[in-house]
């Protein structure tokens, strides 16, 4: 019953088709019928149509696979003792190539891996990052888990969705913990972690994504120094590599670098000096 209710909700006749644009070269998307067999995922009717036999391993002679995709998948297969291990990398490669795990993408990956499409569909439907419906090409994941929510991630997601509403290039979604609670609220923009993002910066961010320029360069995670005062002291707040090496050079593995937070019953010597929380923008650029 619940399933049926969702079928109705999830069967937008035009909303799904609209953002496809040129991203969807061949996928045969039918509207409501795609839910008749219980699948809410467009384009997979052929694989799960109960009136048909299950799809076999695609015939290499009749399944054209782009050479770059074939090479990439075969390289992944060669890395593992069992070629099946390459299922996720292969699907990711197919998704990069096609924009999402379309029936065509699945078919091609299955053809190269010599697996049934059904097997790969079962894998693709399990993982959050493998898209089982057409999406925009810019993946913007906003972490909405506890830590980020406490810092305003829900408002950030709403603002981002508003800002990109109707733009088929965007795939803005709330995501489970992205492992960057130190820069909450944050987003992963095409794989680049950015944060903390204030609501005022959303418009700039969206514009940067549209123009394919680095998102909020000053706020990218990889520019951040460690927050730990014990570690921060090694470089003493400088970006000068040689100076840093000179300071850290004498560091023994057990060098006592911290002057606060006595672990064994002493008096805490007070909080450390405020650490530069802002991104070290002098780093590059």
């Amino acid at each position: 019953m619940i399933g049926r209710r969702h079928k109705r909700e999830l069967a937008p006749t035009s909303a799904v088709e609209e953002p496809q644009g040129e991203l969807l070269p061949v996928a045969p998307v039918r509207d409501v019928t795609r839910f008749s067999h219980g699948s809410r995922v467009p384009g997979w009717d052929d694989a799960v149509d109960l009136d048909k036999d299950p799809a076999q391993i695609p015939d290499a002679a009749t399944t054209p696979v782009p050479q770059t995709l074939r090479t990439e998948i075969e390289a992944h297969m060669a890395k593992y003792p069992d070629f099946r291990s390459a299922a996720i990398p292969a699907l990711a490669a197919a998704q990069r190539h096609h924009g999402w795990c379309s029936p065509e993408a699945i078919w091609q990956a299955a053809c190269v891996m010599r697996l049934t499409p059904g097997y790969l569909v079962s894998v693709a439907s399990f993982y959050d990052m493998l898209e089982t419906r057409p999406v925009g090409r810019h993946a913007v994941y906003v972490c909405t888990n506890i830590s980020c929510s406490l810092c305003g991630a829900d408002e950030l997601l709403d603002r981002l969705k508003d800002e990109t509403a109707g733009d088929p290039e965007f795939n803005v979604r709330g995501f489970e913990c992205l492992g960057a609670c130190d820069i909450a609220p944050m987003a992963s923009v095409d794989g680049v972690y950015v944060g903390p993002i204030t609501l005022d910066e959303v418009a700039v961010l969206v514009e940067q994504i549209r123009e394919n320029t680095p998102p909020l360069p000053g706020k990218q995670l990889r520019r951040r120094k460690s927050t730990d005062p014990g570690a921060a002291r090694a470089v003493a707040g400088t970006a000068d590599a040689d100076a840093a090496r000179a300071v850290a050079g004498a560091a023994a593995p057990l060098s006592p670098k911290r002057s606060h937070g006595t672990p064994r019953g002493g008096e805490p010597s007070g909080p450390p000096a405020a650490i530069e929380q802002g991104p070290p923008e002098e780093d590059e650029e």
Binding site: R40, V41, D82, D128, L150, G174, S226, D228
Partner: protein, 446 residues
């Protein structure tokens, strides 16, 4: 040890530490060299056993013992590094991998040598694309210089290392789910026993360790196992990276000596909650750990003290929630996360997480009565211990602890919500799981 040591983070902000030349200048790969050329696998294992190192991923199982379970037989053995850091609130491995990937690779060499493994894998979560690129580059450097490959440093020991990128699934941080995923399947956990030490990856003996655990191994050899054991407390040896996040002024990773007071971590290191706020409750070890309140802040931060307080150290992720936040909203957020991430293999977890979300929504919307809290508590009891893996428990324990410790607030919330228009929204209600995957468990959300 008078002041607290910095081991893993000693050089972490060294510019260019992700490059092998800088890392070697800082003494990198010396311990791998010593292990392979001067020590036998048994003596390496003895050092690890003597160190008292316990797994840093969540379970806290003694790492040396885990390796010692690997059969000695002459079969293909595997070492898998669990870099699928998905526990909400945890980001320590991310920082280690991003800034010091060679420390991890060196640890993998040492761990694999002790276990007799000839193939190793790093399973990194797909979201960590930048970190995976860093490791890829580091791995290429290590292979070029002969630290990974055939006959490493002329020792006769060979090891291959493959970086495997996941695609976004919390359950793949569970070790058997990870193995299934690494084998190219859906990441469903397996029945245990057989344990991975006997039948793991490709049915071969497999040792699975967290990033931080492996990265610690070179330092254990450098310091000496028995010396390392002197850091920390008797049963929780060494240092630990803790990720502090939530309502604190300086969120981030901190390396602490196990056994220091939790208050020191939250207030001295992370700066405590914002001015004018108080700690209401905190998760000591990721969102899966039962919550503790402000009365528990003086508990020493180590495995056994937290276990005694009926919580756990878990992955070392402290999430601080201050008194401006409604406990119901956190509980709902938490439950929605586990509902989304439940793989659906075991009924108690699949249905329990779902019903818990429904019940918490009723609480939030003013449709519940205080009696529903008892029903919800009983649901949690029926999840715990009844599934193949602990994902369900990971929701049931914190939710159970929240209801137990904040029952009054839940009841007040119910009354207040009932008094209002039943559908008046609340802070975090109506979260992000709007494309509820009813039919296909694990399908993409939102």
């Amino acid at each position: 040890m008078s002041s607290s040591p910095t081991i893993l983070f000693a050089d972490i902000d060294e510019p260019g530490l992700n490059r092998i030349d800088v890392y070697r200048r800082r003494g990198g790969y010396e311990m791998a060299r010593r292990a392979l050329t001067e020590m036998t696998p048994e003596t390496v294992l003895d050092e690890l056993l003597a160190s008292g190192l316990r797994g840093r991923g969540g379970a806290g199982f003694p790492s040396g013992k885990k390796i010692s379970f690997i059969p000695k037989a002459n079969v293909d053995k595997y070492l898998v590094c669990n870099a699928d850091e998905s526990e909400p609130g945890t980001f320590k491995d991310r920082e280690l991998m991003q800034k010091s990937p060679h420390m991890l690779i060196e640890g993998i060499i040492i761990g694999a040598y002790a276990a007799g493994a000839s193939r190793s894998f790093i399973y990194i979560r797909g979201e960590y694309a930048e970190q995976a690129d860093v490791i890829d580059a580091a791995l290429a450097e290590a292979e070029t210089l002969g630290f990974i490959g055939e006959n490493i440093l002329g020792s006769g020991f060979s090891l291959s290392l493959v970086l495997h990128r996941g695609a976004g699934a919390y359950i793949c941080g569970e070790e058997t789910g990870l193995l299934d995923s690494l084998e190219g399947k859906r990441g469903n956990p397996r029945l245990k026993p057989p344990f991975p030490a006997n039948q793991g990856l490709y049915q071969g003996p497999t040792v699975i360790n967290n990033v931080e655990t492996l990265a610690t191994m070179p330092h254990i050899l450098r310091i000496g196992g028995s010396e390392y054991a002197k850091i920390g407390t008797e049963t929780s040896a060494g240092t630990k990276l803790v990720s502090v996040s939530g309502n604190v002024q300086r969120p981030g990773n901190y390396e602490i000596e196990l056994g220091i007071s939790s208050r020191d971590i939250i207030y001295d290191l992370a700066g405590g909650p914002p001015d004018g706020r108080e700690v209401k409750f905190w998760f000591p070890g990721g969102s899966s750990s039962p919550v503790l309140t402000k009365d528990d802040l003086d508990i020493p931060y180590d495995f056994d003290s937290l276990a005694k307080a009926k919580s756990m150290l878990g992955s070392g992720a402290i999430i601080v929630v201050d008194d401006s936040v409604a406990v119901v909203s956190v509980a709902l957020k938490l439950a929605k996360f586990y509902k989304h991430e439940s793989c659906g293999k075991c009924t108690p977890c699949r249905e329990g997480t779902r019903w818990t979300v429904s019940m918490l929504e009723r609480v939030d919307q003013g449709l519940a009565t205080p009696m529903d809290l008892d029903i919800m508590a009983s649901v949690q009891e029926q999840i715990i211990g009844n599934c193949l893996c602990v994902l369900g428990d990971a929701m049931a324990m914190p939710i159970g602890s929240m209801v137990a410790k904040f029952r009054e607030e839940f009841e007040t919330h119910i009354e207040a919500a009932r008094a209002r228009n039943p559908f008046a929204g609340t802070t975090l209600a109506g979260g992000r799981d709007d494309s509820d995957p009813v039919l296909i468990q694990g399908a993409a959300g939102a």
